[in-house]
Symmetry: C2
């Protein structure tokens, strides 16, 4: 759990206030968030679809990251009152606004990787 008065938390809070990059990364960073966002850039997806299309995520992690993205207003959770349950996630306008930035980061990251290895293995980025 989060200790709001730890040096760590205070440092983070200050950096978030002062540095746009740290602020942005506190929202789109983390182990699974970039991949989730990339998936949703193409349209809405159900919980199970996300789970299947992101190799390695556990349910707990997926839900946790979805919740955070939702709290930050990047995605919207749409519940259909059916049985069995049906829940879809889609990007909000804010979430979509992150697209070009994500693309920029992705490009830089991929360029860097391609400098070191000749093989190109991008399956999760927007671009090829």
């Amino acid at each position: 759990m989060r200790k709001i008065n730890s040096t760590n938390a205070l440092n983070e809070a200050q950096l978030i206030r002062n540095c746009g990059v740290v602020h942005a990364l506190s929202i789109i960073g983390g182990r699974w968030k970039p991949t989730i966002l990339f998936n949703l850039l193409y349209g809405k997806m159900r919980y199970n679809e996300l789970l299947k299309s992101i190799p390695g995520v556990s349910e707990r992690m997926l839900i946790a990251q979805l919740r955070e993205l939702e709290q930050h207003g990047l995605i919207r959770r749409i519940v259909y009152p059916e049985v069995p349950p049906k829940v879809e996630y889609e990007l909000t306008t804010l979430g979509k606004s992150a697209g070009p930035m994500l693309q920029g980061i992705s490009d830089w990251g991929n360029k860097l990787r391609n400098k070191k290895t000749a093989t190109t293995k991008n399956t999760a980025g927007i671009s090829a």
Copy 2:
């Protein structure tokens, strides 16, 4: 220390291979790296200068992040054989190439913050 066979490490490695964003963030992310990079965008700086211009970093953290940036080829460490010691850090070409990306992330982060609070308090970003 890093366990190379933990699920965590394996997941991270896979994501780094497949997702440009995760790859990029593994290099420029972390608590202090963005701020360090912003500082160096304006020119080279000595270790102590960095320490003073980044409120809240401990020496250990600063060194650790500088070492990682150096290992990833974003910065160069220049040692002057003097006493007392003098060491400067500067961006490499690769480091400089991250500038526009950092600016993009910073802009998005700042825009987001300015939507929520009316006050603008950016002191560490490239832009005002």
